[in-house]
Symmetry: none
Subunit: 228 residues, 4 copies
C-alpha cells in the first residue's frame, strides 16, 4: 500500500497534495450527490420513513454505491447534519455565538432567530433531521449529535446572557429554548408570506419574554425580577 506511492506520478505533478484524492474526487461528488438526495428524501418523507434505496434512487445510483460511502442510514443523517452545522456556521456566521453583554436582548435574540429561521427555510432538511423516530426517552444518535451541537451553542449564547446562573440552569434554559425554537420552526415552515413572518415574530416574543426576566438583574435594572 505504501510502496506504490513511490512512483512519481508523471501525469499531474502540479497538484501534489490532491494526488491521494484524485480518485476520491468522483467519490466526493457522489457523497455530495447522495447527501443532497438524502436531504430531499428526508424532507419529503421524514427521516424515519426514508429508505436507503429511495435515497440511492434519488441520487441516481445503485444501493451498493450508497453503501460504499455510508455504512447505514444513520451515518447519512449524521454526515448531513454535520455538514449542515458547518454550513450554518459559515453562511450565517456566529448566529448563536456568545454576544456582547451590552447587546440588547431583543436584538440578540431577534438576530439569532432570524438567521436560524433563514437557514432552516433554505435548508429544510435541517428540520427533518431534528425529528427522528422519537420515543421520549430513546433518542437516536444522529439526533443526538445535531441536538447536542445546537444545545452547546445555545448554552454558550445563554452563558453570555445569563452569566450568573449555575450551569444546570443554563442547560435547562437552553433545552427549553431549543424546544421552543423547534416548535416554532415547525409552525414557520408550515406557513408562508405574512403568516410566516407573524410566526417568526411570535417565536421571538416567546423567547425574549422568556429570557428577559432572567437577564434582567445582570444586564439592566428591571423592577420585575422574577426568578423561580
Amino acid at each position: 500500500m505504501s510502496e506504490e506511492r513511490a512512483e512519481p506520478g508523471t501525469q499531474e505533478p502540479e497538484e501534489a497534495k490532491d494526488r491521494p484524492r484524485r480518485r476520491q474526487a468522483r467519490g466526493e461528488r457522489r457523497i455530495a450527490q447522495l447527501l443532497e438526495a438524502a436531504a430531499s428524501v428526508f424532507c419529503t418523507t421524514g427521516y424515519t420513513a426514508a429508505s436507503t434505496n429511495a435515497i440511492a434512487r434519488e441520487a441516481g445510483v445503485s444501493p451498493g454505491t450508497l453503501y460504499q460511502f455510508f455504512p447505514n442510514k444513520e451515518a447519512i443523517a449524521i454526515e448531513l447534519g454535520s455538514r449542515l452545522m458547518h454550513e450554518m456556521r459559515e453562511t450565517y456566521g456566529e448566529a448563536l455565538a456568545p454576544v456582547d453583554p451590552a447587546t440588547p436582548l431583543e436584538e440578540a435574540i431577534g438576530a439569532a432567530v432570524d438567521r436560524f429561521i433563514a437557514f432552516n427555510c433554505e435548508r429544510p432538511e435541517f428540520f427533518a433531521l431534528m425529528h427522528g423516530p422519537d420515543i421520549p426517552g430513546r433518542v437516536a444518535e444522529q439526533h443526538d449529535a445535531l441536538h447536542a451541537t445546537l444545545l452547546n451553542r445555545i448554552e454558550g449564547l445563554l452563558a453570555s446572557l445569563l452569566p450568573d446562573r449555575p450551569p444546570a440552569d443554563i442547560t435547562r434554559v437552553a433545552q427549553v429554548s431549543l424546544g421552543v425554537y423547534k416548535a416554532g420552526l415547525e409552525l414557520v415552515l408550515a406557513h408562508e408570506g405574512a403568516e410566516r413572518d407573524a410566526y417568526v415574530q411570535e417565536i421571538k416574543d416567546v423567547l425574549i419574554r422568556y429570557l428577559e426576566p432572567m437577564s434582567a438583574g445582570t444586564r439592566r435594572d428591571h423592577p420585575w425580577i422574577h426568578t423561580p
Copy 2:
C-alpha cells in the same frame, strides 16, 4: 378477559335491543383491549415503528381481529386520540376551558399546565400520538384530529383571556402555545424528580411570560406594557 363469562346465553328474547348490545359489548371490550395494547405499543416503539401485528399480539388477538375493528393503523391512532381527549376532559375537567377573566393569568396557566402534564404523565401514549412521522407540511390525519381538538380548546381558553384579539391572532397564539407545550412536555417526560418539576416550572414561565403582555391591557393595569 374474564367478564365475557357474564353473557347470559340465549334465553331472553324479549329485549331485542339488548341482544345487539351484548354483541356490541364484546366488541367494545375488544376495541378497548386493542386500544390499550396500541397505547402500550405506541409508547414503547413510537407510532411509526409500531406494527399492527405487534398491537394485535399485545392485545392477545389475531391480526384479523384487529382489522375487524379498525380499517388500518391510522384509525387506531385516531380512535385512541379521540378517547384520550375525552378522558382528559372527563378526568381533569375543563383544564383548558375558558376561564373567568378575573382569574390571575399565572393561576390559569399554571393550573392548565399542571393538569395537562399530569394527564400526559399518566397517559404517555398521548404524547406518542402527537409525534407521528412528521413532515413539516404534511401532517397525518390522526395527528390532525388530536391537534385540531387541542387547538380548539386552547383557542377557547385564549379567547377568554384575550377577548379583543382577532381570531387569526388567537389561532396563531394557540398554535404557538401548543407548540411550546409539546416541546416542554418532551423535556418533562425526559426527566424525573426535581428536574422534571423544574422543567414544568419552566414551561409555565414561558407561557405566562408569553401571554401575560397580551392580556395585560385587557385584564389589568400592568406597568410593564410590552408590545412588540
Copy 3:
C-alpha cells in the same frame, strides 16, 4: 385468548382434542411442506448456501409465510434435524442403542452402520445438516443439536461396549467414531452400486478394528490385549 375455547364448537364434536389444532392443520401442513422444501434445498446447495427465499420458492409459498413458522434459517435446520432424529429412531429402531454385551462387536457395529447408512441414503438432507459452515472452533447451533444428539447416542452405545472406560475416554472415542462415520458417509453418498457397498464395508472395518481392541478385555478373552 383462552375464553373463546369455551364455545362448544358445533361442527365436529367427536374430535375434541383436535379442536385447538383445527386451524393449525393448514399450518402443520405448511410446516411439513417447508421442511421438505428445506431438505431439498439443503441437499442441492448445502446448508450454508441455502437461502430462505429459495426454500420458500421451493415450497411454493411467499417468504413471509416461511417466516410465520420459522424465525430464521437456523430454526428450520434445527426443526428439520430434530424431526430427522425422531424419524431415525422410529424407523430404524434403536440402531444406536446400547447393546447386549454378548453381541459380537462386528455384529453390533455392522448393524448400526447399516441402519445408519440406510437412513442417510434415504434422507440425504441429514448429511447436509451435519455440514454447516464450519470453522473449526465455531460450531453453529443446529449443528450442535444434531451433533450432540448423535454423540449422546453413540456414547450410550459405546458405554455398553466399553464398560470400564472413563467417561472422558468414552466421549473421545465417540467423537472419533462419529467423525469417522461422517467422513465415511460422505464417501458412501458419493458412490453408487458396488463401489458404495465397498465403502460401507470399509467404514465397518475402520470402526470395528478401531473399537475391537478396546472392548477386547471386557468382552471376551483375546490374546491381543490392548489398552492404551
Copy 4:
C-alpha cells in the same frame, strides 16, 4: 498462474528477462500478500463466508487489484491450496511419500500423521480449504485440486504399504484414510493440550488398526501385537 507474466512486452528487446522480472517481482509480492490475507480470512470466517473484498482489505489493496491477479474467489483458494501443498512437501519432506516396506506400519503412520498434524496446526488455512460449501456429490474445484493432490500422495504411500492390492482398492483405502484424517483433524483442532494429544493418538490408532490387517500378510509376519 504466475508464468503468464513472462510475456516480454514490446519495449525492451535486449534485456527481455530482466524488466518483466522486476514487474513479476512486484506481482509476486502482491500475490503472496493476497494469499496471506486470504489464508487469514479463510481461517477466520471459513471459505464460504470469506468475501473477496475482505481479502483485499486484509491485504491492504483494492478489490480491483485482487482481480488483476485472480479471476475469482475460487482461483485464490486453488492457488493457496497449491502453495500449501508445496510448502508442506518442502517443509515436512516426504511425510506422505512411499516408504521402505521394512518400516514398521506404526512408525510410518505415526510419522505421517504427526507431520501432517503439525503442518495443519501451523497452517490452519489448510483445513479451512478442505471445508468448502460441500454438497455430497458436487465438490468444488479448489477442493478437488487439494483433495486430489492429497489423495495422490496417500495412494503413493499406500501403494508402498500394500503392494499387492489392486489400484481400485488402493484408491478406496486412500479415500477412507483421508476422510478419517480430515475428521480427526477437525477434532484435533477443536481441542488443546493433553486432549489434543489424545485425539492425535486416537487418529493414529484408527489408521493403524485400519491398515494393519491389510499390510499384515504382505509385509511381514506380525502376530499383530500392537502397542501404541
